[in-house]
């Protein structure tokens, strides 16, 4: 690959990587939210069974 | 006019407080002079006039930051911030009064600092001084509002430079340009525009900075 092509690949690669990082962060947040929903559902269930 | 009176009263209050306490002004003065001496050692020989002018602006911006960091301190320490906001005057008058007081402090410092600079480094021509004068307005207008923002934050003095420096960049460009360019008019005009635009925004938005 010529150096021009390398830089081209690097630029597009950087875009790709940053977007994927964004996906990773959102996915992590989603996992956390899922966990919280589970806990809250548990708590709601206890509340209902306790009444 | 009632508004002008409010502004004048508020500004006078700050000036009187400083005259009595005498802590901010001497500190700013000593700071700017020490900075000049540091610059002398920081500038390699033969750096030229332009470099010295640039450093003047660095000194001015950081000295202003020093003063601005303390500008809302009387209100904060006395616990009167809320009281001030509840006062029966337009909130923007509070900003204008404070900015006017800071301007007086800054000019007072510069009355000593600029001749000192001329003594240590380069003489300053009319355009350079005009640039300093115009930039002062911008620094005080924007800086006072940002200092009020910083006062509401947990990190206070730490965050004020971060908020202020990006906004100070155009002022530095205008100031240095009017000092070293053969046609300073453009730079002075730019400084005036900056002052006008940001003064309007600060005036309009200060209310939202201090209330909820």
């Amino acid at each position: 690959m010529s150096s021009g092509e390398k830089y081209l690949a690097a630029a597009y690669g950087v875009i790709f990587v940053v977007l994927l990082l964004w996906v990773v962060i959102i996915a992590a947040k989603l996992t956390r939210l899922e966990r919280e929903v589970g806990e809250l559902a548990e708590r709601a269930r206890e509340r209902r069974d306790g009444d | 006019m009632n508004y002008i009176e409010d502004v004048a009263t508020l500004a006078r209050k700050d000036l009187r407080l400083e005259l009595r306490a005498r802590d901010t002004l001497p500190a700013m003065l000593l700071f700017v002079l020490s900075t000049f001496v540091v610059f002398h050692f920081a500038l390699p020989q033969g750096s030229g006039e332009a470099a010295a002018q640039g450093l003047l602006w660095v000194a001015l911006v950081f000295t202003a930051l020093l003063g601005l960091a303390r500008s809302w301190a009387p209100e904060r320490e006395g616990g009167v911030f809320d009281g001030l906001v509840l006062a029966p005057c337009d909130r923007s008058a509070i900003w204008l009064g404070k900015a006017a007081a800071v301007l007086v402090f800054l000019v007072a410092i510069e009355v000593v600092a600029l001749p000192a600079f001329a003594l240590f480094f380069e003489p300053l021509d009319g355009a350079a001084v005009a640039g300093v004068a115009l930039a002062n307005l911008g620094i005080c207008a924007v800086g006072t509002l940002l200092a009020a923002m910083a006062a509401a934050s947990r990190t206070r003095e730490l965050i004020l430079p971060l908020l202020f420096l990006p906004l100070a960049i155009p002022l530095v460009v205008g100031g240095v340009g009017s000092a070293i360019s053969p046609e300073p008019g453009r730079y002075l005009l730019f400084l005036a525009l900056y002052d006008a635009v940001f003064a309007i925004i600060c005036w309009a938005s200060f209310e939202y900075v201090v209330t909820e």
Partner: protein
């Protein structure tokens, strides 16, 4: 309108974004002609410029939502403003990164002060980083929202002011001037650019909606938690 119906279009938009990005990549690499002067590295421009434009648009969007917040005091505008500015900062960072790579490819240096756009984005990057520092140092609530909104408005004014400042500064700052031919774009190149710009815009909007949905969900869960505690 409930949140779920509001978000029902997002998957479709995401699919559209994917298609447009795919199309623009195909156009960039297989259809657009190679630039005579700069060679193949010029093709960075097809994504670099739309990313920069989208960053400006995000900052503008954030400022608009900030203004709406100050006017209406609806918490939702504060959240939308924050997400807009966050996305703008991400795209701004991408602009700096791709711009730097392009500078290296064109001129052999990773950074130069003579590219007005790069310098402008650096200033904006610093400004909006301070936005996040401000936001994280104030307790959540109407105070934080007001401060963030005012600062966001300052940001949008800073864009043109800095632009002129940097232009003025270029007269006395840089000795070396790199010149890049403004795109003397042929029809194909221009079409490719437009498709890429459309792709990045739709992509940015999708990212914005996804991030906003996540934040709103977070908020609702917190309210639920308090209700159930």
């Amino acid at each position: 309108m409930s949140t779920s119906s509001r978000n029902s279009r997002v998957p479709a938009l995401a699919a559209l974004a994917a298609a447009l990005v795919g199309l623009s990549l195909a156009l960039v690499f297989f259809v657009a002609p190679e630039d005579a002067d700069q060679g193949i590295s010029q093709k960075i421009f097809y994504f670099h410029v739309p990313i920069a434009l989208t960053a400006y648009a995000c900052f503008g969007w954030g400022a608009l939502k900030a203004l709406l917040y100050l006017w209406r005091k609806d918490e939702r505008y504060d959240l939308e403003s924050y997400v807009g500015i966050h996305l703008g900062t991400v795209f701004g960072t991408l602009t700096l990164l791709t711009g730097s790579i392009w500078a290296k490819a064109s001129w052999g240096v990773w950074w130069t002060w003579s590219s007005n756009q790069l310098v402008l984005f650096l200033v904006l990057f610093l400004f909006y980083c301070a936005y996040f520092m401000l936001r994280f140092s104030v307790e959540e609530g109407p105070r934080r929202a007001s401060l963030s909104a005012v600062y966001a408005l300052f940001g949008v004014v800073l864009v043109p002011v800095s632009f002129f400042a940097i232009r003025l500064a270029s007269d006395f700052i840089h000795p070396t001037v790199f010149n890049r031919e403004g795109p003397q774009m042929s029809g194909t190149m221009f079409a490719t650019f437009c498709v890429a710009w459309g792709a990045i815009t739709v992509l940015a909007y999708v990212l914005y909606r996804v991030e906003l949905a996540g934040k709103l969900l977070d908020q609702h869960l917190r309210e639920l938690r308090e209700a159930l505690a």
